[in-house]
Symmetry: C2
Subunit: 117 residues, 2 copies
Amino acid sequence: MESSIAIEALSALAHPGRIAVFRLLVRAGAEGAPAGDIARALDTPANTMSAQLAILTRAGLIRSRRESRSIIYTADYPQIAALLGFLMEDCCQGRPEICAPVAAMAACCPSPAEKAQ
Amino acid sequence: MESSIAIEALSALAHPGRIAVFRLLVRAGAEGAPAGDIARALDTPANTMSAQLAILTRAGLIRSRRESRSIIYTADYPQIAALLGFLMEDCCQGRPEICAPVAAMAACCPSPAEKAQ
DNA sequence: TCCATATTTCCATTATTATAGAAATATAGA
DNA sequence: TCTATATTTCTATAATAATGGAAATATGGA
């Protein structure tokens, strides 16, 4: 991942309204949520929410699809993973115990390989 | 983690100079690096670097210790893990495959439990 | 004490970003 | 076609952040 891409994503997240939107969508999973529902849930005017969703979209963190009159937003999980990977690149340097806290954080999401064990 | 804490950390990272410092320190491990070395490595004036280090420190992402005339900076791994955890909180919702890309990102850092297997 | 090195603080200029009212656009249904 | 709903775009004002020169502070050694 390019540094400039990561910075755009981090800038997008570094805002009280937008991080709330992001976390709502991370929790919402693949179904996502329509713009209006998000605006109501976070008690934000529709045009302000529209700007926030546009910024998160341009940053690659979320995606949208139209469904009838609504626009449904979803988290872009692979892109999010790429951002986290960029932040922690080469964190181990042969001593995994250094960044063990990071691995522990990810323990909620066992990989398919780990689930098979 | 409080939302305001996460925003301060993300704001600190959302900057070309500061994310370069952050990643340099993530790679540097527990030994860290002195301010002057970091400034030289990233070709940044000492006062500008000082401001950048201060912002990352205030955001809780890095720590410093004095060693003779130098100030050594290190990444604060537990705090970083807490930030990543905040971003991905409740990402699974009973369906771990949704955020599998995130788990795959963390595969470089097997936890002690995983290493024992 | 005096000097060199390492880092930080002060400051002013310049540039970027946030907010929401009002208007515009898109879709669906009567 | 007309109306209601859903969302976005346009716009101006207000607030915040980045940069690096110059000066200040802290440490160690002669």
